[in-house]
Amino acid sequence: MFSISKSEQSYIATSLSSEKPLRADGRDLLEYRPIHVECGVAPLANGSGRAIVGVGDDTTEVLVAGKLEVEDTEEELQESGEATNGRLTCYVSCTSAAYPYHTNNQLEDLSSDLSSTLFQLLSSSAFLLPDTASNNSQLSIIPQRKHWHLTLEAVIICDSGNVVDALFIAARAALWDLRIPKTRSLEYRGPQTQTMDIDQGPGHDAFKTVAGKKESTHVIDFELEDNWDDGVPLEDREALPVCVTLNLLPSKHFLDASLQEERSAPLKLHLAFSFTSSALSSSKAQEMTGPMTRPPPPPDSIRNPPNAVLQGMRLSGSGDLPIGYIRSLLKDGESYARSLAYALNSKLREDDRKRASEL
């Protein structure tokens, strides 16, 4: 199963491309295997999710957890030369349990490939890491001084095909489950006779807690609020990106390939879309009239703001794709991603409700 002969490859590719396509497990070309997704599997992390695609012997299982650490913005500026208001790092661990026939080098290659795919397709989503000009990043603690560094770590437990989709579903569940601890800004006020000197070390002078409305230039530190809950979830979670992998054959494409199908149709197009919540509840594109939580769009699209945004695109595998096909593939990909996002959001919201009612 881990390597198939040329005749097997041709057999599978032919049956997929035929008039009445046949797949080994009887699915339609556009049918996914059963997807199971759950949150909160690693209670020690700030957010975690698990995705299992398929049942029985034919499962792909991925576990993702996110951890938040505080970072100094100025140190980060010196090290990497970029001013940030939040940082995201992704690491995907491909173990020899999931890939028993891979050598160590192959495992490392696969691991760095998947890590960079995950990072590219997630880091471009605007609400998570907006450009440095705006200060309203969700990962910022004290603007220009301290921010959260989010490390998303994924472990692939087993791979029976379509690992990128499973990886994204699990990452999305982990980001949905992420709770950012609430912080309160602290201001240092020197004694009345001296002028305010922020660089002076804390002496015998009193610390005052400010409700965060003061100008940010005076804020020099923060403290964690003492709460029962773990923090706030990310805003606009429903707009988290969704990834679909289209496996490409010369004449058509199919979804959710099993291992043998992946070997027979190696060219894959990974598309990541994000949908605003109003776009998901209506089946047709409509004008948005309500107040928007995102930063305002450029003027020419105020009347028809985009409700589906293509976050990233990646073509992988050997083979080529005629440029003319891309437009229709993007359109199809968007509709698949839309249904997947709708289903995921409903399931995760339902789970949240169940957990809240249990407490």
């Binding site: 992390a45 029985g56 996110g66 028993p100 029976s160």
Partner: protein
């Protein structure tokens, strides 16, 4: 934040257990679809998933021995599992020590002479850590090897033991492991032999003997739990194969299967 006490005045530990009480043991065999054998085991909040591939042809010819199987052990400690520090790399000293400890524990137990020129790969995936990681890894490895059908001379049951004043505690959590002198021991329950003993702190000799004996008994208790799990799994297998005549109890049916497979009465 107030410091948690290890043992309260009425002899209750920080998680409400008695000194000699073990944590909840959850065992699930054969969950991994591709591995030859797999076991998920958790002692309370410490959970690991061990997969075994093999015996199979070695990946590199240079690694093979002409008369026995070669054992290779790998471990993955993700950052979210709750251990100190971030993710540990493959060549990290602690990781290497861990894998070589597990390997040397199992090398004399697995009947490697039955599988010449082959390789047995054991991979330990840590899901969560709350103390007693080596204990959980060894117990889960034993079960995964049994699930894979690898011939062994006995079960290997591991337990951790610590000393608080004059009282011995079993099955330690992170808090207890960090604060108290502790040892990890792995025993062979049938022959009452010991196959692993690690001690990284100082313990007085008089106390050591007492802890050692206690560890031996605790190992036998864990053995009982592991037997139950293996019997349940074999029952299910036997039923699905249709070999159970219905009149026999599951236990005797699986004894029959075991004897047929040329194993001693376990």
């Amino acid at each position: 934040m107030s410091r948690q006490e290890i043992l309260s005045a009425h002899n209750y530990r920080s998680d409400g257990r008695r000194p000699k009480e073990l944590r909840d043991l959850v065992i699930s065999l054969g969950s991994h679809p591709h591995a030859t054998g797999s076991a998920y085991l958790s002692h309370g909040l410490t959970s690991v998933l061990v997969t075994v591939h093999g015996p199979r042809e070695a990946k590199s010819r240079s690694n093979t021995q002409h008369d026995r199987a070669v054992l290779s052990v790998g471990v993955d400690l993700p950052a979210f599992s709750g251990g100190t520090g971030g993710r540990r790399g493959k060549s990290d000293k602690r990781t290497l020590e861990f894998t070589s400890t597990v390997k040397s524990t199992f090398e004399p137990i697995i009947q490697t002479h039955l599988y010449p020129r082959s390789q047995i790969d054991i991979f330990i995936q840590v899901i969560q850590q709350d103390g007693a990681l080596l204990q959980a890894a060894i117990n889960a490895t034993t079960l995964a090897l049994i699930d894979a059908g690898v011939a062994m001379s006995d079960y290997v049951c591991a337990i951790t033991c610590a000393l608080h004043d004059t009282i011995s505690l079993l099955d330690l959590t992170n808090l207890e492991e960090n604060d108290l002198p502790n040892l990890t021991a792995a025993v062979l329950p049938r022959s009452s032999k010991i196959t692993l003993l690690t001690l990284e702190t100082r313990i007085h000799l008089d106390r050591f003997e007492e802890m050692f004996k206690l560890a031996g008994e605790a190992g036998k208790v864990i053995h009982g739990e592991m037997l139950n799990a293996v019997h349940t799994r074999t029952d299910a297998l036997v039923k699905s194969m249709g070999a159970d005549s219905g009149a026999q109890s599951g236990r005797s049916a699986d004894k029959q299967v075991m004897i047929d497979a040329d194993m001693d009465d376990i």
